[in-house]
């Protein structure tokens, strides 16, 4: 009787049932969408972080940033001679700087590897190479008034230099001169060829050629990123010149995510030689033996090895800004509260509609009570109808939510993520390719396509909410029904 009565009653009140179901469906769909978009945001952030870390890295260790010493600005310095004979001969100068100008001794890698909870640790040296090439011509001084005099040599750097010499009362004027040069900046990572499962190359696949062998620890070979190779027409077998040293390209690396910013990979020793940073590394990549112990490992390293900054994924996530961060904040704050508000409104509306439906059925429930139906049986009937209504709303909401999540994934809106150290520390901004030249705060901008994956947990949450919505509405209606007296059945017709 329970099932038949329930089915017929819901069939009779199709419109009201649909309104309740739609209200719940809207709330549940919002919860699913917000949850899946949030999951998508987390995935996007993970993707960004992995692009810096490489796969398998739980944290990085960098040198704690210190103030530059006097006389060392930390900025790149280029020196060019202006040709005095009018020659426009091209001059070139490479400046190789370590990432952030801060480096750790290679021995620290061993110390880190010995810490409790560390599965493995690999050092890498990240460099920024700024190449400036072009021609520089000297300005020529001309005196007015016909007085002869030695033409002064113009100040270096062309116009604006004042001449010297000559006794002419009229000041000579410098004319002509100038500079025409290109600036090309790219990032280089020195890789520990002995263990490439961690470190800058771990997040990339070698799609052409091969990677370094253990025997190439100091060989003049390079692996270049696919985008850099394309940009500079590099192929396996060709040579690449950095600061006067030629390297043979042995492989092309394609990053697992498009966000990797390292252009050239060299054996660690070669990178150290280039930067004049023997036995130095900028970043130590650490894998913990238990992913749940990351915080403990971080504390141990910071406590036992002074002058280091340990950055975990969680720390790095806090430095993410840009539209990804904004959208993530929106999803977790506004989205969460919006779905709670809609859900609460849906629960309230369904409770009120159920209660109102019970009020319209006074005679019906009064009659059943007069026939000897106990209050609990009448209540069970009302709650049952309500829960089924809630489940219908849940099914509809899951459908709507899945459609919305699918639409988000199909559209894949592009979000930008800006990663940078938040100042004061050589944080994860010190990842490969992550920094600008010199000691300036580093920042990367990456573009991420947003997806909205729906997990089984989210579906289970939706079903739970649907049942909860039905129970809340049913409880309110059932409470009213249980309070009705059988005499109401007679009184309503008297």
């Amino acid at each position: 009787m329970f099932g038949i009565y329930l089915k017929r009653e819901l069939g009779r009140r199709k419109k009201a049932a649909l309104v309740i179901a739609l209200g719940l469906a809207l709330g549940i769909a919002l919860v699913i969408t917000v949850n899946s978009v949030s999951a998508g945001m987390t995935q996007a952030q993970d993707k960004v972080l992995k692009s810096l870390y490489g796969l398998g890295t739980d944290m990085t260790v960098t040198k704690t940033r210190s103030a530059p010493t006097s006389g060392s600005s930390g900025r790149p310095n280029f020196q060019f001679d202006a040709s005095s004979n009018g020659s426009d001969k091209t001059q070139s100068s490479d400046r190789v700087m370590t990432q952030g100008g801060q480096a750790l001794a290679s021995s620290v890698v061993t110390k880190v590897a010995q810490q409790k909870g560390v599965a493995s640790a690999v050092g890498a040296l990240t460099l920024n190479v700024t190449k400036v090439d072009g021609s520089f011509t000297q300005g020529k001084a001309q005196s007015s008034g016909g007085n002869s005099g030695n033409s002064g040599s113009g100040g270096q750097g062309g116009p604006g230099g004042s001449g010297s010499g000559g006794n002419s009362t009229a000041a000579p004027q410098v004319q002509g001169g100038g500079a025409n040069f290109d600036v090309n900046s790219y990032s280089v990572a020195g890789v520990d060829v002995g263990d490439q499962t961690l470190g800058p190359l771990a997040g990339s696949k070698i799609t052409t050629g091969r990677t370094f062998t253990a025997a190439q620890s100091n060989a003049k070979v390079a692996v270049v990123s696919k985008s850099y190779a394309k940009e500079n027409s590099l192929k396996v077998g060709k040579t690449l010149t950095i600061s006067g040293t030629k390297y043979t390209v042995i492989g092309i690396a394609t990053p697992d995510s498009s966000e990797s910013t390292t252009d050239v990979y060299l054996p660690l020793k070669q990178a150290q030689t280039l930067a004049d940073a023997k036995n130095k590394v900028t970043t130590i990549y650490v894998k913990a033996s238990d992913s749940k112990q990351i915080d403990a490992v971080k504390s141990a390293i910071q406590k036992n090895i002074s002058g280091t900054t340990v950055t975990t994924s969680a720390d790095l996530a806090e430095t993410v800004s840009g539209s990804l961060s904004t959208a993530s904040n929106l999803a977790t704050s506004v989205g969460k509260w919006l779905s709670i508000a809609v859900l609460a409104a849906a629960f309230l509306v369904s409770a009120l509609l159920t209660s109102s439906a019970v009020s319209r059925r006074v005679r019906e429930f009064g009659t059943l009570k007069a026939l000897g139906w106990p209050s609990r049986r009448v209540t069970r009937q009302v709650v049952g109808e309500s829960v089924v209504n809630g489940l219908l709303g849940g099914a509809l909401g899951i459908g709507l939510g899945l459609a919305a999540a699918y639409a988000v994934t199909a559209i894949s809106p592009k979000l930008t993520a800006q990663l940078g150290n938040t100042g004061g520390g050589g944080g994860m901004g010190g990842g490969p390719g992550g920094g600008g030249p010199g000691g300036q705060a580093s920042q990367n901008t990456m573009e991420i396509a947003l997806s909205a994956p729906v997990s089984m947990t989210t579906i289970a949450l939706a079903v739970g909410l649907a049942v909860a919505g039905g129970l809340i509405a049913g409880a309110m209606g059932g409470w009213r029904a249980s309070r009705m007296r059988p005499a109401d059945a007679l009184r309503s017709v008297s």
Binding site: M1, I4, Y5, R8, E9, G11, R12, R363, E364, T367, L368, K369, A370, L371, G372, W373, P374, S375, R377, R485, P486, A487, A489, L490, R491, V493, S494
Partner: protein
Amino acid sequence: MYRLTGVTKRYTRGKETVEALRGVDLTIEDGDQLVIQGPTGGGKSTLLQMIGGLDRPTEGSVELDGVDLARIGEARLTRLRAEKIGIIFQSFNLIPTLTAQENVETALVPLGVRPAERRERAAEALRSVGLGERLTHAPSELSGGQQQRVAIARALVKKPKVLLADEPTGNLDESMRDEIMALLEGLWHEYGLTFIMVTHDSSIARRAPRLATIKAGRITLTEQQPQSYAPH
């Protein structure tokens, strides 16, 4: 047997207190037929509610076979209604979404009768009131007289000791009224029920063997010569 002693019922509406029944004393023997008549608002439906255990008196006692319905707990009173008292309403009070057979079955649900037996007994009850061909009809597909027959089948399917009827012909035309009254009279005889009916209809009241008239909450009993509805 019913024994009502000093039954008083007061309703409070705001600051006003209305006394619907004022010290009613009444005895109804098993198998008796009693018709309650009186003006609107006189208290007849209230008296029926007290007798049916649908409401409790403010003062006095309503004993059915020695059990005071005014004093027993709600669960026991509900159980007693389910087992011993069949009720027919003026507006039939059928569940609109259920078929005739399912409506009759609702009276057996609180007794814990198994579904198969419930269906069989409901069908039998409907056949006994001449609706054997209408088992699967919804109330909206039946005439007023047929709906009241379904309500009668629902009241009798559990084989109650007492049958209460609140204006059972109030919504029917004259010919249908006589038909229903003849059916009720026949069932009263057949089942040996205690039959208590409230009516406005003087022609029905005149035919009852015992007439209780209620005015302003006070009862007057009259014994009279019964007249049958059975066709001559």
